[in-house]
């Protein structure tokens, strides 16, 4: 997560450039999003420094924490039914979530983009089959797919590394079709561009065309999809954890699992075990979504330009939403200030 962001900053400064373009409500949303996302990233990075206790710690020098203790000076957010410190587990949970997102999204970009590039560039039967398979997987409830994958990989529960890998790969499978579609649609569009044709004319090999000419141009929308998928993968991870297919509580802290354990507490009026991990999920997803949404909206003029250039057969734009927002930008836009929507 952190790496991803800093790297984009050097290269294209996506968030900052968007911030400069934005006005009014849009800017507020983007700023809130960036603030929440940064909070999440920082918490994940400095979890060992922030958390007063370990995620599997149930006692310190002064004895056991005790189960379901209400918030107090020592445990500012109380303790769970298992006797863990809620605040520490929420903080450590950020780290788990961040690791899963990074792995999951990197895997799916890797697999999805390569498949999309090759499939779009080569076309033919392979392309047809891959498209049908991707559509089928895409239509399938993502959480169920993730559950099936989690069973396959770890047989259910597992330790820190195994659990994180299992969650990441489960999430990967859900997201590959999305990256595949985007990369493929872009490749189809680029394939007809003069610069690709001229490369072909001078005898460039297919691999080189794909990697040097098509790839850099086909991945421009990736930061956006990354942000949106990051938020979705947090929800998927939490869903897995909630259903008991996450990571064991002694191996890592995971918000979904903590919520699962907190359900019974809620019935007896114990709110602190569930509300804090839940809020952590909501705020993180909210932050990432706000950043992604704002970027999506602010990118409109560029998407519109691309839409004109698109060939009828090249499938859809990088994000179907552009199709809907285009008329709004053109038609309703009368105030000049609205360019940012």
């Amino acid at each position: 997560m952190a790496e991803q962001q800093t790297r984009s900053w050097w290269l294209r400064l996506p968030v900052i450039s968007h911030l400069r373009k934005s006005v009014g409500v849009q800017r507020v949303m983007l700023i809130i999003g960036v603030a929440l996302s940064s909070l999440f990233v920082l918490t994940a990075m400095f979890a060992p420094l922030i958390a007063p206790f370990g995620y599997a710690q149930t006692s310190d020098e002064s004895g056991r924490f005790g189960a379901q203790m209400p918030p107090s000076a020592e445990h500012i957010w109380g303790t769970t039914v298992g006797g863990f410190d809620v605040f520490s587990r929420v903080v450590w949970g950020a780290q788990t979530a961040a690791m899963v997102i990074i792995l999951g999204v990197v895997f799916s970009i890797f697999a999805g983009v390569i498949l999309g590039l090759v499939s779009g560039y080569l076309g033919g039967v392979v392309d047809r089959i891959l498209v049908v398979v991707a559509d089928a997987v895409y239509a399938f409830p993502g959480l169920l797919l993730a559950i099936v994958m989690a069973i396959v990989i770890s047989g259910g529960q597992s330790g820190l590394f195994g659990g994180i890998m299992a969650a990441a790969i489960s999430i990967t499978v859900v997201f590959i079709p999305q990256y595949f579609r985007v990369a493929r649609a872009e490749t189809l569009r680029l394939k007809a561009e003069p610069f690709v044709e001229s490369a072909k004319v001078v005898g460039t090999s297919d691999i080189r065309i794909i990697s040097r000419h098509v790839f850099p141009n086909a991945t421009r929308t990736m930061p956006l999809i990354f942000t949106l998928n990051a938020s979705e993968s947090i929800l998927t991870l939490a869903g897995l954890g909630f259903l008991g297919f996450g990571i064991e509580p002694t191996s890592a802290a995971e918000w979904g699992y903590d919520l699962n354990r907190a359900m019974a507490d809620a019935t007896s009026g114990i709110w602190w075990t569930g509300v804090y991990p839940g809020l952590a999920i909501v705020l993180t997803v909210l932050g990432l979504t706000l950043v992604g949404e704002s970027m999506n909206d602010l990118n409109d003029p560029r998407l519109r330009g691309r839409k004109r250039a698109r060939k009828p057969g090249s499938g859809q734009g990088p994000l179907g939403r552009s199709k809907q927002t285009v008329p709004t930008a053109e038609d309703v836009d009368g105030t000049g200030m609205e360019a940012t929507k």
Binding site: D135, L144, T236, G239, A266, I281, V282, N296, G320, V332
Partner: protein, 361 residues
């Protein structure tokens, strides 16, 4: 939990598929082709789930290992035919599926079809209530948001929509329970009814409790069933409502700026009528298509909602079977959900084609 942003992307997928028969074929042919496309989708999912589940080993070892002595385990594996090559099992499974045989659960030893019928209705009921909540919240607020575009009500509603998406169902459920059941005591904490025995005692129950109660003419039970449904329906409905809100907003903003609305305004049509009649109706077409795609999300959501609220439907059972490592049952339920998703997408495409002739060409 499908991302709300990329869903419209899928709406163009059928457009891509029917491209080969571009030169103006009739509705009948479109429906036929679209219908035939259901089968590869289901086939791919069946194949994928089957082989993925088999990678973990045979279901009997998974479910009963440690509970039976190794010899007995081996005997049962052989009896069920799990010692044969996977490919043989696969074709046998496909054959059984075609005959409507989904297998028998290992943990409860009931046919999967029975499980599907018994609990499917509960899920259906839940999804129906949730959709009502989603429509009631999503559409009017979406219209307001579009009309007040870029003003504070719009900002507030958009924020609300994102919040709906960002809140996992089980957390929404936890908060709802905490506030409305535990603190205020308005609604029951979980379950589908407090009159389980009365409802089960009915002759030929539909499994949809509200219908059963109404048929029996028992208003106490009907009210009780509805009271139980409120919180789960809201938890699941809010998630969908957020998506509806945004969809309605974007699409209505698009149509609000078009010439026919302008023309209506110049003739003195009231703003309310412009919004609800002129701008809203053409905006419905993309909304319907996208709604079909939400069915997958609704299914994921139903699993979580049912687990949260102890709503004994397919999702609840799925979680139970997952815990029991009963993969025959899991496979059956997953399969049924895949079929539901494929069929719904088909129906939605047909409806979209009926409403908008452009989709067909």
């Amino acid at each position: 939990m499908t991302s709300t942003i990329d869903t419209p992307e899928g709406t163009t997928a059928p457009a891509e598929k029917k491209k080969p028969k571009k030169q103006g074929l009739g509705l009948g042919k479109y429906i036929l082709i679209r219908f035939l496309l259901i089968f590869p989708t289901i086939f791919i999912l069946v194949t994928m789930v089957f082989f993925l589940m088999r990678i973990t080993g045979d279901p009997i070892t998974a479910a009963l290992a440690g509970r039976l002595p190794p010899e007995a385990l081996q005997a049962r594996i052989e009896e069920a035919g799990y010692d044969r090559p996977v490919i043989v099992q696969y074709f046998e499974y496909l054959g059984n599926l075609l005959q409507g045989d989904f297998g028998t659960t290992l943990s409860t030893n009931t046919p999967v079809t029975t499980v599907l019928v018994n609990y499917g209705t509960a899920t259906l009921e839940l999804v129906f209530y949730a959709l009502i909540v989603a429509f009631i919240i999503g559409i009017p607020f979406g219209l307001i948001s579009a009309y007040k575009r870029d003003q504070w009500p719009d900002a507030l509603l958009r924020f609300f929509a994102i919040l709906c998406y960002a809140t996992p169902i089980f957390f929404a459920g936890l908060l709802l329970k905490l506030v409305f059941s535990v603190w205020l005591g308005w609604f029951p904490v979980s379950g589908r009814t407090s009159y389980m025995s009365e409802l089960e005692g009915l002759r030929a129950p539909t499994g949809i409790y509200l219908l059963d109660a109404l048929r029996a003419g028992n208003w106490t039970i009907a009210v009780d069933v509805l009271e139980h449904a409120v919180l789960p329906a809201v938890a699941l409905g809010l998630l969908v409502a957020g998506i509806f809100l945004r969809l309605v907003r974007t699409n209505v903003i698009g149509t609000l700026g078009s010439n026919f609305v302008e023309a209506g305004r110049s003739r003195g049509t009231s703003e309310y009528r412009l919004l609800t009649k002129h701008a809203y109706k053409p905006a419905l077409i993309p909304i319907i298509t996208v709604m079909g795609l939400q069915i997958a999300m609704l299914m994921s959501g139903a699993v979580l909602t049912e687990t949260t609220f102890g709503w004994r439907g397919l999702g609840f059972q799925l979680a139970e079977y997952l815990t029991a490592r009963d993969f025959v049952a899991v496979q059956g339920i997953v399969m049924l959900l895949a079929v539901i998703v494929a069929v719904t997408n088909f129906l939605v495409d047909i409806i979209a084609a009926l409403i908008d002739p452009r989709v067909r060409f």
